[in-house]
Amino acid sequence: MASPLLQLQQLAVSYKVGRRTLDALRDVDLSIDAGQTYGLVGESGSGKSTLALAAMRYLPANGFIRSGSIMFGDKDLAKLSPEEMRARWGRQIGFVPQNPATALNPSVRVGDQIREALRLYSRDESDVMEILKQMRIADPARVARQYPHQLSGGMQQRMLISMALSGNPHLLVLDEPTTALDVTTEAAILDLLRGAQQMLNTAMLYVTHNLGVVATLTDRVAVLYAGELAEDAPTKELFRQPLHPYTRGLLDSVPRLGQRKDVNRLRGIVGQIPALGETIDACVFAPRCPLAIEICWQKRPTLDAPTPDRTVRCHRWPEIMAGDISPSRAVEKSSQVTKQAANQVLQVDGLQVAYKMPGGTLQAVRGVDVQATSGRTLGVVGESGSGKSSLARAVIGLVEPSEGKIDLLGIQLPKRLTRRNRVVLSHLQMVFQNPEEALNPHLTVGESLSRPLITLRGVKPADAKAQVGELLAAVRLPADYADRLPSQLSGGEKQRVAIARAFASQPELLLADEPVSALDVSVQAAILNLLADLQIEHQTSMLFIAHDIAVVGYLADEIAVMYLGQIMQTSPAETIFDAPYHPYTEALLSSVPPPDPFVKQERIRLEGELPSAVNPPNGCPFHTRCPRFLGDICVEQKPPWRETEDGKRIFCHIPLEDLLRDQTDVLQFEGAKKS
């Protein structure tokens, strides 16, 4: 076997913060072969970005390599001069960054930015068109003349990839390149990378937190935890039998497509990742590990090789490998309350939301009807720009709808928030997306929680304190958290407090706007379960908004798919993955990378860009990109609602029989894994 392309040996990287030296990576061994696609997964704070940058010897000013080596070919990058590194960047190691919107120079045309690279690598500048065509850009000449802000996120990322590939590097380092993108765009980018990899035989170090991407793209995966390599294995082996409890925990945290809260609970991982510099001289995962035994707390495990091509850093891998113990956490028993008769809580009719903009009126929601019933969850799924958040904000009253009617418990709500009385306010509460913004950083948790008690429930301030304790307990937080400031809480804890606050007024309807999208998967699972439990307990109706169809599928009872301000399809959660679908749902499902390398997936890709909501298409809003475009009827006429036997409603001109004939289930599970 030829020597690896990149080999990290006992690599340790630290940051200097003030007078302290904080270890970001410890003793990382890793090697990538030429042409290999290597996935690097981990939650935030695991050190994966540091590893990506260290592999290129490009660390922030306060970061430095403490020990170990970075062998690239026969050179140790850790020992090269800045000039020698500069000569390798671009030519031998390419880089694709995380956020394409800020990674391009905003005041230089993208074509010029690529040409600059070509010139540097002594290539012909006219290759630009060729390169852009390889990126499957329809009109390369026009795109090359544009500035970054004129391009969509997907196009921007294409530019960065073409730039990174223009030097024909042996290794491409990608740092979460699709995290900021919508799934349909992500799918296209992943296709591109696959194609480029095959054509150029470039090795890739692909850093991501998304197990789905890893499962579908990579040959081999390394799992990083708290700066240490937990496990490293060929992708399929890792998914088939993870040897490290952390890997197992990660896999158990991610809802698989079709997984449901009431059938198969997500397990998640308790606790949280240690902060930088907080590591113990033992197994770093011991505090969260369901299998931790005495030795785990005393001795740091060594990096062992159970088989020639995988490594793991765990004391108990032999037992796990042998199947003697299961690293899966025991499932919390959900508090099953007998289901009461569902009565309708929310009825939205013909809702329209528009925002005045300098260039015209942005029509965010264009006539949406939805219903929500007590004790049940309506999931709304859609990509950015679909209007799903505006829908929630209009219902709660944070934006005033321009048209439409919102009834709560059969009573029409005033559109303006200030016109709604306390009773209405207490019936409607919301959990927001960003836990960092969810709580006022200047108020203690107790203060934040006592406010709705006082304002909406009329609790006397003196009595509020006791009830705050109950609220905290309900979201599984200790009572002494009441005295903490938000800065002393982790993201998941903040979101728990936000949920407690929303439930404080005992609302009839809870709106949850992407409540878990900013959280790490291990935390996400716990929050989703918490929401499910509280809902059952209070028989609250919930409007759950998310971009992740797997998450929605897990939590919701009904699912509405939105596109460009309109609902394309509604269906019971159980049947969302079964044909027939609305063509958009079909494309969406075929774009989501399943966190399971054994799943086979139809490949349907959307062409073109999302139309502007200022000037949305007539007829069917999806007609400009629809892979099953029928013809003029789609352009000219609003589609009818078609109802299927399994309870779906599909907003499409294509007759159901045609859909049933042409569509098969997008996801095919190997064996009978579908639960």
């Binding site: 922030p60 009253g397 913004e437 203690t444 005295d483 002393q488 929303a502």
Partner: protein
């Protein structure tokens, strides 16, 4: 990753009290020598402003005929001016003048500007539009021009200078506050407060105001340093505080004719202005650092 590396790594079990938070901020402020120096000198001047009369060996207008025009000596550290007044005493006593003018002026401007900025930013709509257009038109006048116009109307006096500082700085403070409010009011916790039916007053003062305070502290320090400048420039132009007040700008103006005779009477108050302005600027820099607003302009 760099941001992760600088993240707060200490998680305490209970919320620190205000006193504790103040001391932790103060520690950060004093960590860099330049910030510490600026803070300490500013504080020193503040102390002098308060207890100056106790320290000054002579009165502000006390004339020692025999020593008139004497240079710095043990008896008169900063020398004596042409009217036989002890420059050291005058500089000490003038500190109070500057602090009452620039300090109280800034304080009032900050109070009023903050209220207007909060209201304008939070309410939005026609009120915001109207106020901002009005402030735009005020800010279209360079500060000194506006000051001169107003002083022409009001006549030169201590109160006029105070008024001018307040008027000139209200729009600036209000704008800073408003911009912070605009960025804060869309945060989830404010929206959460709204959907919980909190009153506007509580949202403004309990929820938004704390977020404005860091920017306000920095802005107040900067405004203070500019106010010192403005007050002393007006004094220098002879349209500000009137003699025989020991206001530093006025002292420079008065000593200007006699610069070759009694240069100390000019250079000491000039140095005092510079020292105070530089110190306050350093303090502002330090505050920016403390509140992690380093990159902002």
């Amino acid at each position: 990753m760099a941001s992760a590396a600088t993240a707060d790594v200490t998680k305490q079990s209970a919320a620190p009290g205000w006193g504790q938070r103040f001391f932790s901020l103060a520690r950060t402020l004093l960590r860099r020598p330049s910030h510490a120096l600026g803070t300490l000198i500013s504080l020193l001047f503040l102390v002098i402003a308060i207890i100056g009369p106790l320290l000054a060996p002579y009165g502000a207008n006390e004339q020692i005929v025999a020593d008139a025009r004497d240079g710095p000596s043990a008896a008169h550290w900063f020398g004596v001016d042409t009217l036989g007044r002890d420059v050291y005493s005058r500089v000490l006593l003038g500190t109070r003048d500057i602090f009452t003018l620039a300090g109280i002026g800034t304080l009032l401007a900050v109070l009023i500007g903050t209220s207007l900025g909060l209201l304008s930013g939070y309410r939005g709509g026609w009120f915001d539009e109207l106020l901002m257009r009005f402030f735009d038109s005020v800010l279209a006048l360079p500060a000194l021009l506006l000051a001169l116009l107003l002083l022409g109307t009001l006549g030169p006096s201590r109160q006029s200078v105070l008024f001018v500082i307040v008027i000139v700085y209200i729009p600036i403070v209000a704008r800073v506050v408003r911009s912070v409010v605009l960025s804060v009011k869309t945060r989830s916790y404010i929206e959460a407060a709204r959907v919980q039916g909190e009153s506007s007053a509580r949202i403004l003062f309990r929820e938004i105001l704390p977020a404005v305070l860091p920017a306000l502290a920095v802005e107040a320090a900067l405004r203070f340093s500019y106010a010192i400048f403005l007050a002393s420039s007006l004094g220098f132009l002879g349209v500000g505080v009137q003699p025989p007040s020991p206001e530093w700008g006025l002292m420079v103006n008065e000593a200007r004719d006699a610069v070759s005779q009694t240069p100390w009477a000019l250079y000491f108050p000039a140095a005092a202005i510079s020292l105070l302005v530089i110190s306050v600027n350093l303090l502002a820099d330090g505050l920016k650092h403390v509140f992690q607003m380093d990159g902002e302009r």
